[in-house]
């Protein structure tokens, strides 16, 4: 009993004796911002077919209701991507969308049951998105982002994904 009482009082010496390696700075970011920037990067590594939008504008549609995600996606607006600039809006119909961010299975089913997403790069945020026919499934595992890719769906949409993107995918459906 007395030993345990005296033990904590030795803490400073014990801890200072511990070898403390050099710091390695780790980047940290809120999830909505990270999702938005990853989405932007997916677009950078994809050749999209001309899909009804102009040569100057790339239309991003967000099928989500999460306000913080919508805010983060909104901050991509007017950013340049190759020779085009991004337009961001809430998803209403697939017709003018070059890329669609899908929050839930319910939203994806509504899209599929409607006009579908022909020619659009689809990025989904729920487990099973690529198995449901989506192209990129974005998830988080132990606080780090991971993505799966359905190459079959990409080909069907006429989209070419660059090797830089494919080699970082956790799972490829081909």
């Amino acid at each position: 009993m007395r030993l345990s009482r005296s033990f904590p009082r030795c803490i400073p010496a014990l801890l200072l004796a511990v070898w403390l390696p050099d710091a390695a700075a780790t980047e940290e970011a809120p999830e909505p911002a990270l999702r938005a920037v990853l989405f932007y990067n997916f677009l950078k590594f994809a050749d999209l077919p001309a899909n009804g939008s102009s040569d100057q504008v790339l239309n991003i549609c967000v099928a989500a209701r999460d306000p913080e995600l919508l805010t983060a996606m909104g901050r991509l607006r007017e950013r340049p991507l190759r020779s085009r600039r991004l337009a961001v809006r809430a998803y209403e119909a697939a017709a003018d969308c070059d890329a669609i961010y899908v929050e839930s299975r319910a939203r994806w089913q509504a899209i599929v049951n409607g006009a579908g997403a022909p020619g659009a790069l689809t990025v989904g945020a729920y487990a099973g998105f690529v198995d449901d026919g989506g192209i990129i499934e974005l998830s988080f595992d132990r606080d780090r982002s991971r993505f799966d890719i359905n190459l079959v769906a990409a080909r069907q949409a006429g989209i070419r994904l660059y090797p830089q993107l494919l080699r970082l995918a956790r799972r490829l459906i081909d």
Binding site: M1, S4, R5, F7, P8, R9, I11, P12, L14, L15, V18, L20, P21, D22, A23, A24, A25, T26, E27, E28, A29, P30, E31, P32, A33, L34, A36, V37, L38, Y40, N41, F45, R65, D66, P67, E68, L69, L70, T71, A72, R75, L76, S104, R105, A106, R107, Q109, A110, A127, G128, F140, R142, D143, R144, S145, R146, Q164, L165, L168
Partner: protein, 641 residues
């Protein structure tokens, strides 16, 4: 009170947006390559909180970053600020009892990494004083009934503490703290890998003499200082690989000064101790089979208490000795089926088993009241469906059935309708039933004042809630919860024998706000109002009104200043207590933090800055109630690596 309410309302008024806080995050991430982006850690903060706003419950989340900013050293420091929570200190060992929405602590299920901390003999341990803040990654607090998911004792709510474990430990840290009451603490947190497995380790050792309040007088008319010293050791180890996680923990409390015995007699000599260890093996596989995820956990926990050099008795003045221990084991298996369109169906079941052992008593004045060794077994099944009725509507329906070997069965349903009313507003209508299992004492212990009753039924409760989360702007988030919480079949020993008697209803309001005034300045606050009925079931020493305000200001690069003000309203006394009711009191805490470089960080904290003479309720045995700590100071240094 009115001035403080006015201050809160002023805080809630929409003010001009000065710039978007999230812009900085986007700009910081944009230059990173894809390889670098997948290495970025997600901070839990806002998005998880947002996800929580959609949860089919009223949920509060406290992150490690919150804890660090406030200078909290213990779980109880954190819980104090949660809407609806009042942490009431007990005269015996200055134990914290967590009350929620006007219900006593035995209606609040406290878990660590999903393992219930309750024990048969003493609820949350006879000397349990919370958990060190350094081991906590986050705390999830469900306000409202949780029995349909978690079983017994979750009538008022559930507190689940998630500790730093393998894989999520990416930032290793060592720290030292010293302060008032001869308090010292040191901690270490480290994560690494070994043979392809993630390994995590946390350790905190601490000692304090406690605040040694002057008790004048005690039950016997004596004046003296209550000895509330204690030493604590908390060691946790975890291993993770693939879908498996192994968690092991060991905690020990030594030289715990009980200060006063349960009857309010000063006990300057007693030093008790306890220890507990736990093991849990988790298997979590979201892709176990097509459309199926699988979760399983096996747990074992062992707790042991000793009265050390004996508790002082009321009369004649002698000492009684008590050693007791308990084993707990549990197994739970559940599957998540997502093969049905618009449904996510979770089905599962499990078994929990508790057994006391090694009970030894030397109790000279009351040799006729032995503590029996008993066991309790609970077999349960549960089913929950999350049904996406439409894009913006989600209905969660759940049902759990528990079969206990000692007092019978309980069936607890829940329903939650969540409507994403607009892009900024989430509305919830919630209904849930819950139960509290009769305690061991109520079922089996004969004491000088109470006779047990093995025929007791569980206490039951029904709660209706209406909750709104509103994102008024990018920077201002508001929450409002209204609820009616009715407990029935209350267990009372007022008549000598424990019996199920009567009911008790609480109506309450919880208002929360968080405002990011500028990228470096944030205000937050919450207001709790309770309307408790006048029946004997009222937990009289819980305030009907509480207000918490908090400011976090990074006023210069590397510097952060946190100020918290807590106001608790007056507390009524039981019928027949001739003393004046306890008045309202305010506590102000502040922490100043300086990050020297990416490794070193320094902080100083002052608690009860205004040196308020605050007291917690105690029975008439302590005529002047129990004094809370006076102004106290802490300094800490952290090294991150």
């Amino acid at each position: 009170m009115h001035k403080k309410l006015a201050l809160l309302l002023l805080m809630l008024c929409p003010l001009p947006v000065l710039g978007a806080a999230g812009d900085a995050d986007i700009e910081r991430l944009m230059p990173l390559s894809l390889e670098e982006l997948v290495e970025v850690d997600v901070s839990i903060s806002t998005y998880s909180k947002q996800q929580m706003s959609k949860a089919p419950s009223v949920v509060s989340l406290v992150t490690a970053e919150d804890i660090r900013a406030t200078g909290a050293t213990n779980l109880m420091d954190v819980l104090r600020s949660v809407p609806g929570v009042y942490v009431k200190q007990n005269l015996f060992a200055f134990r914290p009892l967590v009350t929620l929405r006007g219900a006593p602590g035995n209606n609040v299920l406290l878990m660590v990494n999903g393992t219930p901390m309750r024990d048969l003999l003493w609820s949350n341990g006879i000397y349990w004083k919370g958990l060190p803040a350094s081991i906590i990654e986050r705390i999830e607090i469900i306000r409202g009934p949780g029995s349909a998911l978690f079983g017994a004792d979750a009538s008022a709510g559930v507190i689940n503490v998630i500790t730093h474990t393998a894989a999520p430990i990416k930032h290793s840290e060592a720290g030292l703290r010293a302060g008032s009451f001869d308090s010292q603490a040191g901690w270490l947190r480290h994560g690494g890998s070994w043979n392809g497995l993630d390994v995590g380790l946390t350790a905190e050792l601490s000692t304090t003499d406690g605040h040694r309040p002057t008790i004048s007088p005690d039950r016997n008319g004596n004046t003296g200082k209550a000895n509330y010293e204690w030493d604590n050791q908390d060691l946790r180890f975890s291993l993770a690989g693939g879908h498996w996680r192994l968690l092991a923990d060991y905690q020990r409390q030594d030289d715990v000064g009980t200060g006063l015995n349960g009857a309010g007699v000063l006990d300057p000599l007693n030093e008790s101790d306890s220890r507990q260890y736990g093991l849990a093996l988790h298997y979590d596989n979201p892709g176990f089979a097509p459309d199926w995820g699988l979760n399983a956990v096996a747990r074992y926990r062992d707790v042991k208490y000793s009265s050390g050099n004996g508790f002082i008795t009321l009369a004649p003045p002698t000492r009684e000795y008590l050693d007791a221990a308990e084993r707990q084991a549990g197994l739970e298996l559940s599957g998540l089926y997502t093969g049905l369109r618009r449904h996510a169906l979770r089905i599962g079941g499990g078994a929990a088993w508790n057994e006391t052992y090694g009970v030894q008593q030397i109790n000279p004045p009351n040799p006729a009241f032995p503590i029996p060794e008993q066991s309790r077994r609970d077999l349960y099944l549960f089913l929950q469906d999350v049904w996406s009725l439409a894009d913006d509507w989600e209905l969660t329906a759940g049902l759990r059935y528990d079969e206990f070997n000692d007092f019978g069965s309980a069936t607890t349903p829940r329903l939650a309708l969540v409507w994403q009313s607009s892009e900024r507003l989430t509305s919830k209508l919630l209904y849930g039933e819950a139960f509290r299992a009769p305690s061991y004492q109520e079922l089996y212990f004969q004491t000088a004042s109470n006779t047990p009753n093995p025929d007791l039924e569980p206490e039951r409760s029904r709660t209706w809630e209406l909750a709104f989360d509103y994102l008024a702007s990018d920077r201002l988030k508001l929450g409002l919860n209204l609820y009616r919480f009715k407990r029935t079949d209350l267990i009372s020993g007022a008549g000598g024998t424990f019996q199920n008697v009567g009911s008790f209803t609480v109506r309450g309001l919880e208002l929360e706000a968080r405002w990011q005034a500028t990228p470096s300045l944030q205000f937050a606050g919450n207001l709790t109002l309770l309307d408790q009925d006048d029946s004997p079931g009222e937990d009289v020493n819980v305030p009907d009104e509480a207000l918490h305000l908090r400011m976090d200001w990074a006023f210069r690069p590397r510097w952060a200043w946190d100020v918290q003000a807590h106001w608790f309203g007056r507390r009524s006394l039981p019928a027949g207590d001739p003393r004046d009711e306890l008045g309202a009191y305010s506590l102000v805490d502040t922490t100043l933090r300086y990050r020297y470089d990416r490794n070193w960080e320094f902080a100083v904290s002052v608690r009860n800055l205004l040196d308020e003479d605050a007291h917690d309720y105690s029975s008439r045995n302590l005529p002047n109630n129990l004094p809370l700590p006076e102004r106290n100071f802490y300094a800490e240094v952290r090294y991150g690596f």
